[in-house]
């Protein structure tokens, strides 16, 4: 792709694949599909186009697959058609779509179906054996052999996920939950074959397949959660790929992927666009919104020769930028690298289930070994009887309930959060979120709304606002937008001239009207910190001052109070000016705050907190927060955040209200206590069942009842999460 510079490069063409029938295919990630009508609009609209053979929306994954005849229509027209319908469409590489995880999920589902089939049929036979007290030995043995014929192939097929994992763990000298599972299943099957050959009474084929069935349910839920979390992250990554407008020799512009831009290339950055790579301004002057990069509310000036950074938004006028670095050397890429480094620390987190396994597994194995030794030495039945009892211990202690305890709770909890507009993006995020004891906020865009607002109650009359707003409508400057927001309806003055860094001018019937900073309207600068302000100078020379503030989110103070009431310590880290940070912290009720923080400063601060033993929840939205979001113990970002920050965060919440944070922490904590309850139930069950097994009293009937009973209890307990939250709400 490196050589593509001057041809009319079709940005979506790289994602097109061709099949043998001469049809072209593309997959698009489409934003904004939320109802049946959207499906019909897109599919109907595309199918009506000449040359389109098939258009199919996948509502679950927000993907659109289109097949067409390349001789009659091209991919750009198709993407254009979807955009024209009012949906955002991003071409994606669908070949990598079927990730290893998804493939594994499919295999697990098939294994689950086979285990379910075998469990049902073997149980059918087992029930008749248990019920048929007058059944002769010959009939019983025949039924056992039929059970074996169903169960053994099923065990071999459906047990593979556990066997391979156990073998891997065993080879590397570790023990995981799959070791006792595999041992129990294999030994139960082997012993049952042995028993059946001897015409014995007890065969555990039903136990073996039922174990697999229950455990596969847990395994499947767990994996599906991981797949969902990862695909949410991948979708965000796909949206991040933007195009740059390269200026070629004849002066025209052509869109190219950002990754192909090389130092020295001249790029065109239109008003409202993001600067694609780091560079210097070649011609033109404008103002750049760098709030996502640094957290500053006010835009910075960009004149010829000024340095600009990837990710800044061009507000005032089109500029030409000479690329100085490639996209993977830009400040943005530097932030990504910081983020990746930070993430490695987090990988050390050990999940609850694994922590439980590290205690459970050795205990169980010791118990089984002790049972075998005791029965052999003190018992009467010789080594066969000792082995039977030891195997019974392994079967009965097989972590069936433990395998379900965590995944079921997690699935219920993340579903609950999803319905409240909170997307769970990492599979162990809930577990980490439940453990946090410190909350660190970013200011701009997180604690505040991220855009200035006209301070209400100022002594300004409506006519002044209306006049100022009519000029302001011509500009994208944040303060202009704030003015417009204060006077939503009204005319736009025509022929407004914008001088970046100063303000706007309009030649009205009575003379020139100006809106801008002090220097622009000729008001002498007074001492004191620069505030967010605009001055209006009317044609008669009189001036009016408009003051602005970056207002806190409506429920910021309330949320902070609630967080403190939950026993969490709250602090604020911002890249903004000290004065602004001070004011915001005071208004929100945060005592600990720090201003002028660079991304590295934020990480250093998080490291310091970590050294003190704190488990930090980071909440932020800017690019400058992305590394600290990745470094923190857990992280949340609003849906308005920079794409990369959303990618780094464990959770993303929709909407304006910070209350989502409280909800997320509450659900995570409840989920955690339910997991512990489930562990407790599993232990209780073992305390009753294990002595029976050690004493050699466990029959296949008891094993089957105990296992399914404990699994069902654990699942029902997890579903209680829905009830608890419903009660809290009403």
């Amino acid at each position: 792709m490196g050589g593509v510079t001057s041809e009319n490069w079709d940005t979506s063409a790289a994602f097109v694949t061709n099949d043998d029938d001469g049809l072209s295919h593309i997959d698009l990630l489409v934003g904004g599909i939320h109802c049946p009508k959207c499906i019909r609009d897109i599919e109907g609209g595309l199918s009506a186009k000449d040359g389109v053979r098939n258009a199919r929306v996948n509502f679950t994954t927000n993907r659109l697959h289109v097949a067409w005849d390349e001789t009659r229509i091209n991919s750009n027209d198709i993407v254009g058609a979807v955009t024209a319908l009012g949906f955002e469409a991003t071409p994606i590489d669908a070949s990598g779509d079927r990730s290893p995880d998804q493939e594994e999920a499919r295999k697990l589902l098939i294994a689950l179906a086979v285990a379910g089939f075998a469990a049902a049929n073997v149980m059918l036979l087992s029930v008749s054996v248990w019920a048929g007290a007058e059944m002769g030995e010959a009939t019983r043995t025949m039924l056992h052999w039929i059970s074996a014929a169903i169960a053994l192939p099923a065990v071999v097929f459906s047990g593979r996920p556990f066997f391979t994992s156990a073998w891997k763990a065993f080879k590397s000298g570790r023990l995981n939950m799959d070791v006792p599972i595999s041992l129990a299943v294999i030994l139960a099957s082997a012993m049952s074959v042995f028993e059946t050959r001897a015409g014995g009474e007890h065969a555990y084929f039903d136990a073996a397949v039922m174990l697999l069935f229950f455990l596969l349910i847990g395994r499947y839920l767990d994996l599906r959660m991981r797949v969902r979390a990862r695909s949410a992250a991948n979708d965000l990554m796909a949206l991040q790929k933007v195009t740059a407008h390269l200026i070629v020799e004849d002066g025209s512009t052509t869109p190219v992927p950002v990754s192909t831009v090389r130092p020295g290339d001249i790029l065109f950055v239109a008003q409202g666009e993001r600067v694609p790579v780091d560079g210097t301004v070649e011609s033109g002057q404008s103002e750049l919104d760098v709030s996502l990069l640094t957290g500053e509310t006010l835009p910075t000036m960009a004149t010829k020769g000024a340095e600009v950074f990837a990710g800044a938004i061009n507000l005032a006028a089109a500029i030409r930028v000479r690329a100085e670095k490639t996209s993977d050397n830009s400040v943005l890429a530097e932030i990504v690298r910081l983020m990746e480094n930070a993430e490695q620390g987090r990988a050390r987190f050990v999940r609850l289930a694994d922590r439980a396994a590290s205690v459970y597994v050795p205990t169980v194995h010791t118990l089984a070994a002790l049972t075998f030794a005791s029965w052999w030495i003190f018992g009467t039945g010789g080594w066969t009887n000792a082995a039977t009892n030891a195997i019974a211990v392994l079967i009965i202690t097989c972590p069936c309930a433990l395998g379900l305890a965590v995944p079921v709770v997690q699935v219920v909890a993340s579903g609950l959060l999803f319905r409240r507009g909170i997307l769970t993006k990492s599979s162990d995020g809930l577990e980490r979120l439940a453990e946090i004891d410190t909350v660190v906020f970013d200011k701009t865009g997180t604690l505040t709304e991220g855009r200035p607002k006209l301070i209400a109650g100022q002594d300004i009359n409506a006519a002044d606002i209306a006049l100022a707003a009519s000029l302001a409508r011509a500009s994208r400057h944040p303060l202009s937008r704030a003015l417009t927001a204060a006077a939503p309806d009204g005319p736009t003055a025509d022929c407004v001239a914008e001088t970046p860094g100063f303000g706007l001018e309009w030649h009205g019937p009575d003379g020139a009207v100006r809106l801008g900073n002090r220097a622009w309207v000729g008001v002498a600068a007074t001492d004191g910190a620069p505030e967010l302000e605009l001055w209006l100078r009317r044609a008669d020379g009189t001036t009016t001052r408009f003051a602005f503030e970056d207002a806190l989110r409506s429920d910021a103070a309330e949320t902070i109070t609630k967080l403190k009431a939950m026993g969490l310590s709250v602090s604020l880290l911002s890249g903004d000016r000290a004065q602004a940070v001070d004011a915001a912290a005071n208004a929100a009720g945060i005592d600990a705050f720090k201003a002028h923080c660079l991304p590295t400063d934020k990480i250093a601060e998080l490291e310091r907190l970590k050294m003190e033993g704190a488990k930090v929840l980071m909440i932020g939205d800017g690019l400058n927060d992305a590394p600290s979001l990745a470094a923190a113990y857990a992280s949340i970002s609003p849906a308005s955040a920079a794409d990369i920050s959303q990618t780094a965060a464990d959770f993303v919440f929709q909407g304006e209200r910070l209350a989502s944070i409280v909800t997320a922490i509450r659900v995570a904590r409840t989920a955690r206590s339910l997991v512990f309850q489930n562990f407790g139930l599993a232990v209780l069950y073992n305390m009753i069942a294990v002595p029976l097994a050690v004493a050699g009293l466990v029959t296949p009937l008891i094993a089957a009842l105990a296992m399914s009973g404990s699994s069902i209890v654990v699942t029902l307990n997890a579903l209680r999460l829905n009830l608890i939250n419903r009660a809290k709400r009403s």
């Binding site: 049946p36 499906i39 258009a55 199919r56 996948n58 509502f59 679950t60 098939i110 089939f117 049929n121």
Partner: protein, 54 residues
């Protein structure tokens, strides 16, 4: 008791039919878009105009 010689194969067969049906559904993409399927029910007859799926 001879009836079980008939009943057990029937039970197994029925189970296998269910299993095969599930595999068929999985393979033919019935589980690829469960939410979309739920939404499409609400669409009217105009689906016919979109042409057959290839």
């Amino acid at each position: 008791m001879n009836i079980i010689a008939l009943l057990i194969p029937i039970a197994l067969l029925l189970g296998l039919v269910g299993l095969t049906a599930f595999f068929w559904a999985l393979k033919s993409g019935q589980f690829d878009d469960p939410e979309g399927a739920a939404q499409r029910v609400l669409l009217d007859d105009d689906l016919d105009e979109m042409g057959p799926k290839e």
